[in-house]
């Protein structure tokens, strides 16, 4: 069974600064997907960034980038130039093939003006 661990229940960052959220996972599979989802308060969960395990290049989406270390089973999210709208719960998630997402427990990110 796959597991996803987020060891930082809460993080805070000054507006315009950079923050990194950590995630580790455990799987015996070699081809899978990893995701970071954002869940603002009382709003729906949306995809932030996606990484395919067979790709060595780290995914980037504007101010969001990941550091994917397959051997270490680590998948961290870096948010650059943090904005007030980035405040939310961030969930790391794993998916194998066409199967369900397995989520971590989440990291609550606070942006300090």
């Amino acid at each position: 069974a796959q597991t996803v661990t987020q060891s930082q229940p809460e993080m805070s960052v000054q507006e315009a600064e950079t923050v990194t959220l950590s995630c580790t996972y455990d799987t015996s599979e070699s081809d899978y997907y990893l995701f970071w989802y954002k869940q603002p308060p009382s709003r729906q969960m949306i995809l932030v960034i996606r990484q395919e395990a067979y790709k060595q290049q780290n995914a980037t989406e504007n101010r969001f980038s990941v550091n994917f270390q397959k051997a270490a089973k680590s998948f961290s999210l870096k948010i650059s130039d943090s904005q007030l709208g980035d405040a939310a719960m961030y969930f790391c998630a794993f998916s194998f093939g066409n199967e369900k997402l397995t989520f971590g427990t989440g990291t609550r990110l606070t942006i300090i003006p």
Partner: protein
Amino acid sequence: EAGVAQSPRYKIIEKRQSVAFWCNPISGHATLYWYQQILGQGPKLLIQFQNNGVVDDSQLPKDRFSAERLKGVDSTLKIQPAKLEDSAVYLCASSHGWSNRNTGELFFGEGSRLTVL
């Protein structure tokens, strides 16, 4: 395109009562998921449908929870009788599923928040 629709957004019931949640996925999405998100935790899969068939319901408490997707489109999740520990947000999500259009991404609705008193 329209997103995943869920109703009701909020529901308060007494323990031992019943409740039903409805979900309409994104048009054309073959796979539909129901997740339970307890406060302070990550979402946990309750059931996964591929069209109108169940792919995974291993974590569904079948003595009190049931779900159906009769025509392979919208779905209903029912809890009967409810317990205090069922207080949670019930998230519905959909994806392209078993097709070459599948990117592994799930699209979520806004959720239905259940409070059991």
